[in-house]
Symmetry: C2
């Protein structure tokens, strides 16, 4: 942290978001990573893994609704769902709003589940107690290698492609995901900031294009993440994620007015990439290519 009262991720290209901290609620070294829960002034309670913001009370809905409802409502009948990562439970909770039979979640770090349930209970909101949820603490890559044509939707809700999640952004991994999908199935993953991590965004999209026939990047605005605009991507052999199935929308549990970010129009709009990104160029000509020492 920059000083005791401020949290800031390591700088990217000379850019850094500072957030006023009201309290450090937990600081723990797990088997895999440094886990912190902070109470921030702008976004409320926030989960941080290895100095990277994972989720906050204020904006978790934008990330989770867009990662989940876009692929889940594009698929005509998702029954079997897999989540890789997602320990805070926000993805699990949104998957369970759909009329599924079973969702398997494979999260490598029990500390993320435990501390999220203790300090960020609004995010999972009881999802871990749902009988349709099968939560495994383990390695998502190893789990997926045992699966074949098993899932309608696979959601990659991991940390960035460094550290524990590095193996979740490779050609090998995406081939494993493809094999684990049932016919007509699709996957979705976040793929970083197209502004401050443009190389990573371009690489992830390109890697997926080498594996899947249909690769559709989309965007969501998640202000606690560096730069605010966040990349997600859907991939499939036969199912386009561009539009929600109107029938499926009516099946979503709960009032549509309970949604914070997702609407059918936002779903379709999220695939309209700014001109440079559509040409597979970085969104903006960020000047400093390397991390720098900005305070």
């Amino acid at each position: 942290m920059a000083d005791p009262g401020t949290f800031a991720e390591p700088p990217l290209s000379g850019y850094r978001q500072h957030m006023e901290i009201r309290a450090l609620l937990r600081d723990e070294q797990s088997l895999y990573q440094h886990v912190q829960v902070l109470d921030t002034a702008p976004f409320g309670r926030m989960l941080v893994l290895d100095d990277a913001v994972q989720t906050t009370i204020a904006d978790e809905a934008a990330y989770h609704e867009m990662l989940v409802h876009v692929p889940m409502l594009a698929h005509p009948a998702p029954r079997q769902v897999l989540i890789v990562g997602g320990g805070d439970g926000g993805t699990l909770r949104r998957v369970l709003q759909h009329p599924i039979q079973r969702v398997v979640q494979v999260e490598i770090d029990e500390a993320v589940i435990r501390l999220s349930r203790e300090f960020l209970p609004e995010i999972s909101a009881g999802a871990y107690d749902d009988p349709r949820a099968d939560v495994i603490v383990g390695d998502g890559v190893a789990y997926l290698e045992t699966q074949s044509a098993a899932f309608d939707v696979v959601l990659i809700d991991s940390t960035d492609p460094v550290g524990p999640a590095e193996g979740l952004f490779t050609t090998d991994f995406y081939q494993t995901v493809r094999r684990a999908l049932r016919p007509g199935g699709l996957m979705a993953s976040h793929c970083g900031s197209p502004v401050l991590m443009a190389d990573g965004w371009l690489r992830t999209v390109s890697t997926l294009e080498g594996v899947f026939g249909i690769v559709q990047p989309y965007l969501a605005y998640v202000p606690a993440y560096p730069g605010g605009l966040w990349g997600m991507v859907a991939a499939s052999e036969s199912c386009s994620a561009h539009r929600p199935d109107p029938y499926r929308l009516s099946q979503l549990a709960g009032d549509l007015d309970e949604l914070s970010y997702y609407t059918p129009d936002v779903h379709m709009a999220s695939f309209a990439l700014p001109a440079t990104l559509g040409r597979r160029q970085p969104l903006f000509p960020i000047v400093a290519a390397e991390p720098s020492g900005v305070a």
Copy 2:
């Protein structure tokens, strides 16, 4: 500035963007405001007025293409255009890409024009030398009061609604704009961050709704502005801004591949508001309502 090597706007709700500075190119007190030109690591050269980021080399295209091309391509035949503010010249340049007869720009502060032309010449890119441009250094409110049914499109490209620009966000001013529009005309304005300035966003949209029959908020992503997501709004008595006129698109001077941000799909997508904003609520439940002392 937080320290000599860093620029950061005053904090909003305990949130603050820090940018590494490579050089302070100019620091001047004009008749109206404190004008700075900085060379930043992430966004290149940047214009700052009274500590607020106005534009940068890296992301000016997102702001200017969306403020200009959305209303200009929605209007079926804009010939007479007015810009209030816009001293950096980026709006003027985009207006001149259209087959207009005349554009009047009324900018209150000559220092903004002069320093932008000296230090940020890529932004206006010769627009100030175009014979169709009539540039007036003066008060946009007073100018508009002399105009009646004179303009097809009026663009408000000002600072935020404090200081010199305060009078550009009132019912009285919008009524003056409405009188200055020709039949079928429309106006567009920025209206701040729907995240960190949610009250201002809601107030501006609501004020416009009290004056115009058609009020259509839209969004653009401009990372150098606090929070990154930026509000714009189109207003008219009879012209919807939702879609570009296909014929008008073909009239845009220059290759469409020279656009950085705007595409016809992005135009239409920019009106898809996240669910909370669509309900005229703040986009996210930002916790600290008041500016705080974050470093």
